[in-house]
Every structure is written in structure tokens, then in C-alpha cells.
Amino acid sequence: MLALLKRDLALATRAGGGFGLGVAFFLILCALVPFGVGPETSALRPIASGILWVGALLACLLSLDRIFALDHEDGSLDLLATAPLPLEGTVAIKALAHWITTGLPLIAAAPVFGLLLHLPAGAMPWLLASLLIGTPALSMLGAFGAAITVGLRRGGLLLSLLVLPLYIPTLIFGAEIVRRGAEGGSTATPMLFLAGITAGVLALVPFAAAAALRVNLR
């Protein structure tokens, strides 16, 4: 299991694996928003939390098709399917690798981009906390979408179409935490909901993703 995680991490960081591409995309997105809505603090501040969450979500989406596509092409996915490690475990490890290579850099970069968008200082810890709790669910759901579309020729666009609606609850609660944090309100309720979604997704979606992979490897 650990070996698989190490291998996936190595593949992502080496060989132009697109490590950091997500963060670059996130930066561009945050830089483009002020051009669209105007540079005034009064215009940016109310939407900063939403932009940051939507940006993180889209940046996460960008690298999803790589979770299984490369392994499917060179046949190593078939090997993994016959390995003693259950396919559910493989899926979970791959989602974890995706989270470490995409989610963690996004979280690390988010405070800086928050400054760019004039996110109130009081909301910064909430932004970090909500991303930390929410992004694992994004990676896991993404792995599910990637498992469904792995054998398809034009899977990329379909993947976004399938995965983005699944992101809606996470986005709603995540952005709500930051918004309430910025206003100094109570964040306990959305935080609990977000944590509940992530826990449920991490527990159940690997089974759905593994089922989809088995169909595609048949």
C-alpha cells in the first residue's frame, strides 16, 4: 500500500507529472477575477471566499483524469486489479496521492491568493480549515469520476460533467464556513456538515469507484 502511494507520488512529481499545474491554474483564476469584476476592495471582498472555493474545485478537477488514465494505458491498472490489495484500497490510495499532489499545494497557496482577493484576515483560518476538511472529498469523488470514464476516448469533458454536480454540497458548506468566518458568525454547523460529507465520501465512494473500475477493466 505504502509502495503504491510512493510510486504514485513519484510519478506525479517526476516526468512533468503536472505537479503544481493545479496551483498555477488556481493563481491564474484568482488573477483573472479582478479583471472581470474590477479591482476595488469593496467588489472583491464579498466574493473572495466563493472565488477561492470555486477556484480550488476547478484546479482539483484539472488533474483528475490522470488518476487512472496513465495506468490504464500502460496496463499497470490491470496488474493492480489482480494484486492482493483490494481494488477499493487501490482507489483510496490513488485518491490520497491525488490529494497530496493537488489538494495540499492548493491549501498551502490559498492564503496568498486570499490576500490577492482581499479576503478578510479573520476568515483566513476558516479558509484553511474548510479546505483541509473539504478537499479530500473532492479528490475521492474525482477518483470515482475518473474510474467511470477511464476507458473512454473523450473522457475528459464527460468527467467534468459527471463530477462537478457531485461537488455541489462540499462547495456550499465549504464556502459557507469561510463566509461566516469572515463575518465573525458561528461556523460550527457548516463545519460539521462538511466533515460529515467528507467522512461519508471517504468511507463509501471507494466501493462505487472500485465497482466502476472493475466494469471498465472487464
Binding site: F144, I148, T149, G151, L152, R154, G155, L158, L161, L162, L164, P165, L166, I168, P169, I172, F173, E176, T189, P190, F193, I197, V205, A208, A211, A212, V215, N216, R218
Partner: protein, 241 residues
């Protein structure tokens, strides 16, 4: 003889062929009757003539949700018992559900313009229906994208399961996110809140009509899918021979 006998395509074709004329006739009579009756109802003292839209909006919204539930049930039957007709019925239902969702959204927007003063409001019910439409679109796109029919049925079945959970989750998340303008259920059982009988009976007829319309369209579309499957099988046999 159990109900599963009808999962056999030949038996299904025979039975659906026998039922179809009645379903079509019933759908035509009830839908047209309900809508015409609804169109002729008197004006409401508050909403004026726009009350007539309810006879489209409520049945369409009801069917939009029920068709998804039916797809979920059909997907489960396919995943557990592997009856091909079930998978094909789920596929056949999706476009009907998408059109029903579109009708509910469109009539809602047209009604909201004079009543709420806006075409669109990020109200929980409206937003939930938009999300439902996204799920329908994704589901149909996946069916269209996968070539092998059994794989397509499996993958869309799994997607339908996961999607159902998330559609429900989104419904409550959206409720949390924004309290809405939309009025409560139109068919409340509590006396006093009830619609007056002038509107209630045409609404019932219209709902029955939309249900029969769905049934008739579902049967025809499933028959189409069965025929397409058979055609593909015959062609495959021919190329092999």
C-alpha cells in the same frame, strides 16, 4: 409466475405492445383534458390568470423527481438481478425526466417573472431542480459515451446510485444555503391550506395525464431500445458469420 418473467425481452415486447394503446389513449385523454380544463379555470383573486400555469408546473415537477426515483429503482434491479429490460428502461426514462425538469424550470421562470419580479431566483427549490437537470444531463451523456452496452448499463447504474445520494444531499445543502421564496407544497393535506376544488380536480387530472404520458413514452422508448439491441446483436452475428 413471478413479476420477473416480464424482464424477459420477448415477454416484455408482447406485454408492452398490448398495454401501449391503452397507455397512449389514457395519456392523450388525461393530459389534454387536464390542461384544457386547467386553462379554462377562473382567475385566482391573487395570481390572476397565472394560476393556470400550475397545471403544467406541478405535474412536470412531480414527474421530474419520480422519474429519477424510477431510474434509481431500475438501476438497482439491473445491478442486482441483471435484467436487461430494466437497464434499458432506466436509459429510456432519462430524456423524459430531463424534459420534465426543463418544463418545470421554464414554466417556473415564466411564472416568476410577473409574480416575483424576476425570471430566476437562487431559491432552494429552483436550485435543486437545476442540479437535478445537471444530473440528468450527466447520466444521459455517460450512456451515450460508453460503447459496450453492458458496461454502459453498469456504469450508469453506479452513477445513478451515487448521483441519487448527492442529489438528495444537494437538496438539503441548498436549503441550508439559502432560504427561499418558493411557496410550500401545492397539495397540502392540511384543511384550510388546500387549494380550492376548482383548481384541485383539474390538477389531479393533469398529474394523472403526465404520469400516463410518461408511461406511454417510457414503453415506446424501451421498445426502441430493445429493438436496437436486437438489431446490434443480429448485425454482430452477421459479421461474424
Amino acid at each position: 409466475m413471478s413479476i420477473w418473467e416480464y424482464a424477459n425481452p420477448v415477454k416484455f415486447m408482447r406485454l408492452s405492445g398490448a398495454v401501449l394503446p391503452y397507455a397512449v389513449a389514457g395519456a392523450a385523454i388525461c393530459t389534454i383534458g387536464g390542461l384544457v380544463w386547467g386553462f379554462l379555470t377562473p382567475q385566482d383573486y391573487k395570481q390572476g390568470a397565472t394560476v393556470k400555469i400550475v397545471f403544467l408546473h406541478v405535474p412536470a415537477a412531480m414527474m421530474a423527481i419520480n422519474i429519477w426515483v424510477m431510474m434509481l429503482a431500475a438501476s438497482l434491479i439491473w445491478l442486482i438481478r441483471r435484467h436487461h429490460v430494466s437497464a434499458l428502461a432506466a436509459r429510456a426514462a432519462a430524456p423524459i425526466g430531463a424534459v420534465m425538469t426543463l418544463i418545470a424550470l421554464a414554466t417556473g421562470a415564466i411564472w416568476g417573472q410577473p409574480m416575483w419580479g424576476t425570471w430566476w431566483e437562487w431559491d432552494p427549490r429552483l436550485t435543486s431542480f437545476l442540479i437535478l437537470l445537471l444530473f440528468y444531463i450527466g447520466y444521459m451523456a455517460l450512456w451515450a459515451a460508453v460503447e459496450d452496452p453492458d458496461s454502459a448499463a453498469d456504469l450508469t447504474g453506479v452513477l445513478c446510485l451515487v448521483g441519487s445520494v448527492f442529489a438528495l444531499l444537494s437538496r438539503y445543502a441548498v436549503l441550508f444555503w439559502n432560504q427561499g421564496l418558493h411557496q410550500g407544497a401545492s397539495l397540502s393535506v392540511a384543511p384550510g391550506e388546500r387549494m380550492s376544488a376548482v383548481y384541485r380536480y383539474p390538477l389531479y387530472l393533469s398529474m394523472l395525464g403526465f404520469f400516463l404520458l410518461f408511461l406511454a413514452l417510457l414503453l415506446i422508448r424501451t421498445r426502441t431500445e430493445v429493438r436496437r439491441r436486437r438489431l446490434a446483436a443480429l448485425q454482430a452475428r452477421e459479421t461474424r458469420a
